[in-house]
């Protein structure tokens, strides 16, 4: 090899070293001491061992304002590329907080957009790891425009490939909106998301609040509903991303993996888990775990709107999405947050052809001025819209209560359910006995010699007549009344029958879901 070769190779090697050195040993040590991994370590943890391939490692900022040319950073504070997760390709970006605080400038955004474009062309999931101080102020509106380029791609890719955002540090201002457009947001315990940070909040409103109290993982997983998953640290969080992807197809043109697991039928325990007395509560997660393949239930948003449970699971190795009323919280009633939570999940599953199982035990929409004034009409409507619009296989099991509009909203026959099962203890009615008798029996009770006795008589008549699943079955709203011990077999057979379901919507640009 002649010396010209050697010089050229040396130059490349030194540039590679500069890329690998990222923000330098001190900043990397600081990142590690705060319990975080570096951008590249996160990529290694996300992908199958040794499969990560970096793209555009040399892209750098062209900005020369404010002395930016003097502190040129090769790579521009973000690592992008692809690798394999459970052997299937995925693309990702990972912001490097050690390089300029992970701030997003024009070149930084361009790198992310290129990786997103590749994900779209390869029809593969895109994972965005966020750890950034925000827009790079020196680059002015070019950095803002960089965000816009990302939002645009997030939106166009929505429903085509699964998009997952992982927040592992600060994510402030406009940076929040890319995660918000994507399908799932993961946060670590030491990450934060907010549109305006504590300093701005204080200067504008006078309110003093810590960054954790304003936009920490606990707030977003339980109060705002922004985050879907929270993990204590980087490693467990990235493992969670891998786990989630195991349930998903690569794109809307792909199929989910069949992952045979232990398919023990625990349906016989269902009559012990669910009290026949519909006034007694129980944890619906125990019902789910008895029905699905062992250990396959993967709950989403478990701390938000806990009156409804959502998540992925498998039956006979095939991914399904589960929506279940949770009797333990607010009696399983539907309200604004539960409607939003379930509707978005239903639409995700419909985008990616994941069949839906709905477990119904719902007393009503929650009454009250707080709900009405908060817009329960438009929020509740999302649930009806999402179920009606979904063309994937849709199976319902009415376990106990199914009352009024809430019954109709929970994947009823009329809104397109393919198969509706009910247990013999199911109560399917327009309203509860007490309310119904007060209205339809008002005159009879007033005219009676003993109004209290008359009321009791009417209550008993109403209960006998309506507090069962048989009228609904006779009228075809329930396809079959089944025993608890038959449940898994029946549900599995319904999904098997529905595998080739072909239902299409009329041509439209897109519908207008009540947002």
């Amino acid at each position: 090899m002649d010396s010209m070769w050697q010089q050229s190779i040396d130059r490349l090697n030194s540039r590679r070293e500069a890329v690998a050195a990222a923000g330098g040993a001190d900043r990397i040590a600081k990142q590690h001491s705060s319990g975080k991994l570096t951008a590249r370590e996160r990529m290694e943890a996300l992908f199958d061992d040794g499969t990560f391939v970096e793209l555009n490692d040399e892209i750098s900022s062209r900005c020369s304002d404010f002395g930016m040319d003097k502190k040129k950073r090769i790579g521009d504070g973000v690592v992008t590329g692809y690798g394999y997760i459970h052997g299937r390709i995925a693309f990702a970006s990972s912001q490097d907080f050690t390089v300029g605080g992970g701030s997003l400038g024009e070149a930084h955004a361009m790198k992310i957009c290129r990786a997103m474009d590749k994900a779209m062309e390869m029809k593969a999931p895109f994972i965005s790891i966020n750890d950034s101080g925000g827009a790079r102020i020196e680059e002015g509106i070019d950095s803002l425009s960089g965000y816009a380029d990302i939002f645009y791609r997030n939106t166009i890719a929505s429903g085509v490939i699964p998009q997952i955002s992982v927040i592992m540090g600060p994510c402030a201002g406009g940076a929040c909106y890319s995660p918000a457009i994507t399908d799932f947001i993961f946060m670590t315990d030491y990450s934060q998301m907010y549109i305006t940070g504590p300093a701005v909040v204080k200067s504008v409103t006078g309110e003093e609040i810590t960054s954790a109290a304003l936009g920490g993982a606990s707030v977003h997983s339980s109060t705002s509903g922004v985050a879907h998953f929270v993990y204590p640290d980087d490693l467990s969080c990235l493992n969670g991303v891998r786990q989630l992807l195991g349930y998903l197809p690569q794109s809307n043109e792909d199929y989910t993996l069949t992952v045979p697991g232990r398919t023990v039928d625990n349906s016989a325990s269902l009559s012990d888990i669910v009290p026949a007395d519909s006034k007694k509560a129980y944890d619906v997660r125990n019902v789910i775990n008895s029905l699905v393949d062992e250990n396959s239930f993967f709950e989403i948003q478990e701390s938000f709107a806990r009156n409804i449970i959502i998540g992925f699971a498998r039956i006979d190795g095939e991914t399904i999405g589960i929506i279940a009323n949770q009797a333990l919280y607010m009696a399983g009633s539907l309200e604004i947050n539960a409607s939003d939570k379930a509707s978005r999940f239903i639409r995700f599953c419909d985008c990616f052809d994941i069949p839906l199982l709905t477990l119904v035990d719902v007393p009503a929409f929650l009454p009250g001025s707080q709900q009405e004034h908060g817009g329960i009409i438009r929020h509740g409507a999302k649930l009806l819209y999402a179920y009606s619009e979904a063309t994937v296989p849709k199976v319902s099991l009415i376990m106990r209560k199914a009352y009024g509009g809430a019954y109709i909203a929970m994947n009823s026959k009329g809104t397109g359910a393919d198969v509706v099962y009910a247990w013999p203890v199911a109560e399917i009615a327009v309203m509860g006995a007490s309310g119904a008798v007060s209205i339809i029996g008002k005159k009879a009770i007033e005219a009676a010699e003993d109004p209290a006795a008359k009321r009791e008589e009417l209550l008993s008549e109403y209960n006998d007549k309506f507090m069962n699943p048989y009228i609904a079955a006779e009228h075809g709203y329930v396809d079959e009344v089944i025993l608890p011990e038959e449940t898994r077999t029946k549900i599995a057979s319904a999904f098997k029958m529905l595998k080739t379901k072909d239902r299409t919507l009329p041509y439209k640009k897109h519908g207008n879901i009540p947002l």
């Binding site: 490693l235 509560a281 129980y282 944890d283 250990n295 239930f297 709950e299 009696a331 009633s333």
Partner: protein, 124 residues
């Protein structure tokens, strides 16, 4: 390393699947599966999401009627112990103490009606 049979569009493939742990260690896929919820571990029912404020005040999660009051003011309670039963939304909702302590406020009696957001009791 686990062996899996995977069927894609009717074609069956046999695959060795291993999950690469975050620390680079190899874990079987099943290990990464979510932990199954402990059966019937009686988690704090009904109100705890809205109930546990920093002051130990427990708020009615929804409008309803007090069916039973199991404690009186001044009783000491353990976290998770049922203090009263709120009949609401066709359900007997057990409302529990958010923390260990003494019930400092409890004036409701069976038959009282409450609105969503009303104070039910307070534990100090």
């Amino acid at each position: 390393m686990s062996k899996y049979r995977i069927t894609v569009e009717g074609k069956t493939y046999e695959m060795d699947v291993e999950l690469i742990g975050a620390n680079g260690s190899v874990q079987p896929v099943a290990k990464a599966a979510p932990v199954v919820t402990a059966p019937a571990a009686a988690p704090a029912p009904a109100a705890s999401k809205t109930a546990a404020t920093s002051t130990g005040a427990v708020i009615a999660p929804m409008p309803g009627t007090i069916l039973k009051v199991l404690k009186v003011q001044g009783d000491s309670v353990k976290a998770g112990e049922v203090v009263l039963v709120l009949e609401a939304m066709k359900m007997e909702n057990e409302i529990v103490a958010p923390a260990d302590g003494t019930i400092s406020i409890l004036t409701l009696t069976a038959g009282s009606t409450v609105a969503g957001g009303d104070l039910l009791f307070e534990v100090k």
